[in-house]
Amino acid sequence: MSASKQQAHVPQTTGHVWDGDLQEYNNPLPNWWLMAFYASVVFAVIYWFMYPAWPIAGTFTTGFKTITYVNNKGVEKTVHWNTRALLLQETNEAVKAQKPYFDKLSSMSFEQIAKDPEMNSFVLSAGKELFSDNCAPCHQQGGAGKVGFAPNLTDDDWLYGGHFSEINHTITYGRHGYMPPFAGVLTDQQMTELADYILSFEKYPVNPASAEAGNQLFHSETAACYYCHGADAKGRKVIGSANLTDSIWLWANVPAAKTIADKEAAIKTVITGGLNRGVMPTWQGRLSTDQIKLLTVYVHDLGGGQ
């Protein structure tokens, strides 16, 4: 503002005088501000007519604006504007955009999806989102799992089976790991022998006599390990018992234990206390059948097949 203009602007007083000489300037609001104010008042009135606004008695004014959506029964409905209907409308649009893919997904077999390059890239991108939201808290980003907590999904060891149908069953219904505790059933000496027997599969330098005693015990009725883990100690997928002969460990952290005695101790902890953990929640109800199917292929891609 130039100096001359500033001088030209001589403020008027309101005419009020207090205490003899106390006066009050009258600086009216600029016109552009007043116009914006009146415009917003007009906008508010229009808004009241368009959207839900005023409460009256037991109900409220619903406004003239409407939303049309299709519900899950395929019925088209038009209701007054509200966020719940808006969500349905937006979901409809998104579902429509993804429909060709999901239609294809539900019509194809797992093997076909895995082989189809277009579907496979859909599975990879959509599956990554689903996996991060729902599976990664336990199985970790990337699916490498956590020793002592949740199995690694990228290796070839599958407690309940790594084929499509088995993975699908696991995700749909969930799992619950169980092994009875052997404290009081077996002596400390016997447990050491069993641990040595298991360690001998990995060619750890354990006492051969102790490992052989463990072998006897494993297949005896005293410990009866073979009931669940099988005569070959390779586990049984039907009940999710672990394969003890591969070098993959979920509960006893054998690879991290430095000495043989530590490794034995890690295994003995599991034998002593048993397991009543490894709970995988059931996902049916939370995820749709198609989402579970998509996740199945995604998880299978990580390292399934065995």
Binding site: H16, T59, Y69, N71, N72, K77, V79, T83, R84, R277
Partner: protein, 245 residues
């Protein structure tokens, strides 16, 4: 004739009329919600918390979980994809105070119930970064080692009963609960059996993986595992709750 000068020169009048103007604003915004019939959706399954879950809720508040976690899934597509069905007013009708929250540093917990195993909940509360490396949540290890104090559980339920939560003291109230929630739930809501119910639920479910005692972890996990699980949404059309808006 009314003159603005009266207001400006009369502090008493100015105070009274200012308060009047503000309370009209408040009344218009808040009061109608008590009278609009459709605010709370008619839906099956919502029940007050069991004594153990109630103590878990108290611990949730004590530890300030609501400062980072909301319990209010808004009707947005991204929230529906991540958390599930939007929250209903009916689902927090027995919450005093409700835990909707507004600070969303952590994920919304309105439907966290049954999403993870008890074991995950315990491990994660003790040390969140052991499972979610990028988490900024504090550790809460003392929950596991602190015995749950339930000596005043009856008083806590009695207080909520005054606030309108249907915990029963008399035979008539119990019968009304049987009619409304079924016998099994009504038994859990009986203040006279609160203590034994709390102990039984903790022992039966062993939420914290240590059957030898009832820790604060037992209560908190029991509470978290029931969040958002009471309503079976598969029973309703996806637009069932539109008419309540």
């Amino acid at each position: 004739m009314f003159k603005h000068e009266w207001l400006e020169t009369n502090i008493g009048l100015l105070t009274i009329l200012t308060m009047l103007a503000i309370s009209i604003g408040g009344l218009v915004e808040i009061a109608p919600l008590f009278f609009i019939k459709n605010t709370v959706e008619k839906v099956d399954g919502v029940r007050p918390y069991t004594p153990l879950e109630l103590r878990g809720r108290d611990i949730y508040q004590r530890e300030g979980c609501y400062l980072c976690h909301s319990q209010m899934i808004r009707p947005f597509r991204d929230e529906a994809l991540r958390y599930g069905h939007y929250s209903l007013a009916a689902e927090s009708q027995y919450d005093h105070p409700f835990q909707w929250g507004s600070k969303r540093t952590g994920p919304d917990l309105a439907r966290v119930g049954k999403k993870y195993s008890n074991e995950w909940m315990v491990a994660h509360l003790v040390s969140p970064r052991s499972l979610v490396p990028e988490s900024v949540m504090p550790n809460f290890p003392w929950l596991l080692t602190t015995q749950l104090d339930y000596s005043d559980i009856e008083d806590r339920m009695r207080a909520l009963r005054i606030a309108g939560v249907p915990y029963s003291l008399t035979k008539a109230e119990y019968d009304a609960n049987v009619k409304k929630f079924g016998k099994q739930t009504a038994d859990m809501l009986d203040i006279n059996k609160a203590r034994q119910n709390l102990i039984k639920q903790a022992e039966d479910n062993d939420y914290d993986g240590d059957p030898s005692n009832i820790s604060e972890m037992d209560a908190l996990v029991a509470y978290l595992q029931v969040l958002g699980t009471m309503v079976d949404f598969s029973k309703y059309d996806d637009d069932e709750f539109v008419k309540y808006r």
